[in-house]
């Protein structure tokens, strides 16, 4: 394989990995607070359609992003209310969110199918950084949202491990009763974390409909929300590892497409299976690792917190 091919492939891996990265970062925040939200796929879809609709209405991609953030946040608020306040089953509630989101996005987006986004995010080269050999064309000739995702990874890593708020958030996810005892509001932190997670999932969806494939298609996430949920485990709840993982999956996505254009004779159906198969295999290996190396999930993950039952 020649160098140009590799560089194009890796640059596409970043683009294809970005929606997964954004959603997975959101799920890291949510899960770190002790709440499991399996509704990522649904929140992404609603984010994608709402962002697209706002884009059509206003011709402004940033307003699209704003609306997607709000829509994702509102979806997550439903999850927060049902699981935190009403202590509903988090797995089933997340599924409900995905089913509802799939339906709602299809319902809202029906008349938007097939029209191109009027104002999509375009790639541009970052001064200086974009001229670096290899790294420039791969990482710094992307669109604005990709740069936002780099910043988010750094900010989130610093937030979680270097700030007081981050410490509180992790405490709530590890041992809510102890956090409560020292005066941290478990309910408020969990609500905020779940909503922030939903906003990022919405943003991931908007990346699909405003940058990656600037249009709206029913079910256009095609399981990326679920891959994002799996990726959180793969990344052991670490934002930086999450970035690496996202690009690996993005690369698989891109590879399938590139192989076809090179005229290699494999059925496209098999190529499309690659990301799903890879996710499952990776998940199995990582689960073995976590068992031996004790890198475990937040201890209170998916357990409702009941003050009186402590």
């Amino acid at each position: 394989m020649d160098q140009l091919f590799m560089v194009t492939l890796l640059a596409t891996a970043v683009t294809a990995g970005t929606p997964i990265l954004l959603a997975a970062l959101g799920e890291i925040i949510t899960e770190k607070s002790g709440i499991l939200n399996l509704g990522v796929e649904g929140m992404m879809l609603v984010g994608a359609v709402v962002g697209f609709m706002a884009n059509v209405a206003t011709q402004n991609p940033w307003l699209g992003v704003l609306m997607a953030l709000i829509a994702g946040g509102l979806m997550a608020l439903m999850h927060a209310f049902l699981t935190i306040t009403l202590r509903g089953n988090q797995v089933v509630c997340g599924l409900a969110l995905t089913i509802f989101g799939t339906g709602l996005s299809g319902f809202l987006g029906k008349s938007f199918v097939g029209i191109p986004a009027p104002a999509s995010f375009k790639a541009f080269s970052v001064p200086l950084l974009g001229d670096l050999p290899l790294i420039g064309p791969i990482f710094f000739r992307q669109d604005a949202l990709v740069y936002v995702s780099y910043l988010l990874v750094i900010v989130l890593a610093l937030f979680l491990y270097k700030t007081r708020w981050g410490l509180s958030l992790r405490a709530v996810g590890e041992n809510p009763a102890a956090a409560d005892a020292v005066g941290i509001s478990v309910f408020r932190i969990r609500y905020l974390s779940v909503i922030a997670g939903g906003m990022l999932a919405g943003l991931g969806g908007a990346y699909l409909s405003l940058a990656y494939a600037p249009s709206w298609l029913e079910n256009m996430t095609a399981g990326r929300g679920w891959i994002a949920v799996a990726l959180v485990i793969f990344a052991t709840w670490n934002p930086v590892k999450c970035l690496v993982g996202s690009y690996i999956f993005g690369g698989l996505d891109a590879l399938g497409f590139r192989i076809q254009t090179r005229g290699i004779d494999i059925s496209p159906f098999f190529l499309q299976m690659l990301p799903y198969i890879a996710t499952i295999i990776v998940l199995i290996f990582v689960s073995r690792e976590t068992k031996t190396h004790r890198v475990s999930s937040p201890k209170a993950l998916s357990i409702p917190y009941d003050r009186e039952e402590r």
Binding site: L97, I99, F100, G103, L104, W226, L283
Partner: protein
């Protein structure tokens, strides 16, 4: 004033029945708001939905046809849920069952019906069961989250079925449509009179009875219930949890596989693109709404079968197909929220806490 939740000693019986009914009502109400925003008349749309599903004998029989896969897959899903195993791969298991049954019908077209149908049924069951066993083994022995793996395998199964019908199994006389040749008559399930209700209904009812007896009246069923309710107690009692995880998911997938077999053999008469329009996902809602009980499950399957039939009808007047899955998601939301009323007493107390905390400040 403060609202607190107080855990009930036993779930309220009244709420057990009232909650699902109210959930559906409130979901329709909120769905109606979305319809109004979208510029449609909810009364007209719901009326049409209801009338086409339950307003004629044809509608009712069609609702039963749609209830068959929901009931089979729902039984499978609820069996796994009993053990706190989140099998959300019923959709893929349906597809694998459909593929395996189709393989039998296309490979051995000379078999007589009394051999063909049981063979297809067996292969459909086996394929669905093995497809669920694949994520079950890592779940049991390496603690790999089955929610994600079973779900991701849906995509693989659907792509596999698409590969076959767009490729090696494509009907040469099908004008390039993504479907296999029509099955020989021996591979088609008999139907009831003039209706489209097929033998799959008997499979579903039979499966419900078998599962009910297994769970309520056998030692194994007791084990499953104990493991589901208290894994620690089960371990202490020396129950083999790992083996039971595999067995339960195997059966769970097998039931969904039968649903797939019944769809190709009883409804479509061939394998075609989109053989299941999301039955596997709807089955999850059905199972939860029925509180995992086989008899209630039959009733809820019928209602949701009707919702699907109505969904097709409202598409004819230009409503999106997704309207129905939106309503389904809303129903599940309200059921989940409503369960708090079943398990908790809501107490509204005017507490002096607020003023006390102010004094501290």
């Amino acid at each position: 004033m403060k609202i607190t939740l107080e855990k009930r000693l036993a779930p309220s019986t009244l709420m057990l029945f009232a909650v699902p009914v109210f959930s559906i009502f409130l979901a329709l109400l909120l769905g109606g708001v979305f319809l109004v925003i979208n510029g449609s008349n909810p009364v007209e749309i719901y009326g049409m939905l209801f009338k086409s599903a339950f307003g004629s004998s044809y509608g009712i029989t069609e609702s039963i046809v749609k209830a068959i896969p929901l009931m089979l897959a729902g039984l499978g899903v609820s069996l796994a849920f009993r053990m706190q195993l989140w099998n959300i791969g019923a959709e893929g298991q349906i597809y694998m069952g459909a593929v395996a049954a189709t393989w039998v019908a296309l490979t051995f077209p000379g078999l007589p019906a009394p051999v063909m149908i049981p063979f297809m049924l067996f292969m459909g069951f086996l394929a669905g069961a093995l497809w669920a066993l694949l994520p079950a083994i890592p779940r049991a022995y390496m603690n790999v989250n089955e929610t994600i793996t079973t779900l991701l395998m849906n995509y693989i199964a659907i792509l596999w079925a698409d590969y076959l019908i767009y490729g090696p199994w494509k009907d040469p006389a099908g004008f390039n449509f993504p479907l296999t040749p029509k099955f020989v008559p021996a591979a088609i399930l008999p139907t009831l009179g003039e209706t489209r209700i097929h033998l799959g209904l008997i499979f579903a009812i039979g499966a419900a009875i078998v599962i009910y007896i297994l769970i309520k009246h056998t030692k194994w069923g007791y084990e499953v219930r104990v493991i589901g309710e208290s894994p620690a107690a089960a371990r202490y009692a020396g129950m083999n949890i790992k083996k039971n995880i595999c067995l339960v998911l195997f059966l769970s997938g097998g039931l969904a596989g039968i649903a797939g077999m019944a769809e190709v053999s009883g409804v479509a008469g061939r394998l075609q693109h989109g053989i299941s329009p999301g039955y596997g996902y709807t089955a999850i809602i059905v199972a939860w709404l029925a509180r995992l009980h086989p008899a209630t499950l039959a009733l809820v399957s019928f209602l949701f079968g009707g919702l699907l039939v109505g969904g097709f009808a409202i598409q004819l007047i230009g409503m999106p197909a997704a309207t129905v899955s939106m309503l389904q998601g809303l129903i599940l939301f309200f059921v989940l929220g409503g369960q708090v009323l079943t398990n908790y007493n809501i107490k509204i107390i005017s507490s002096p806490k607020k003023s006390a905390s102010k004094e501290v400040e």
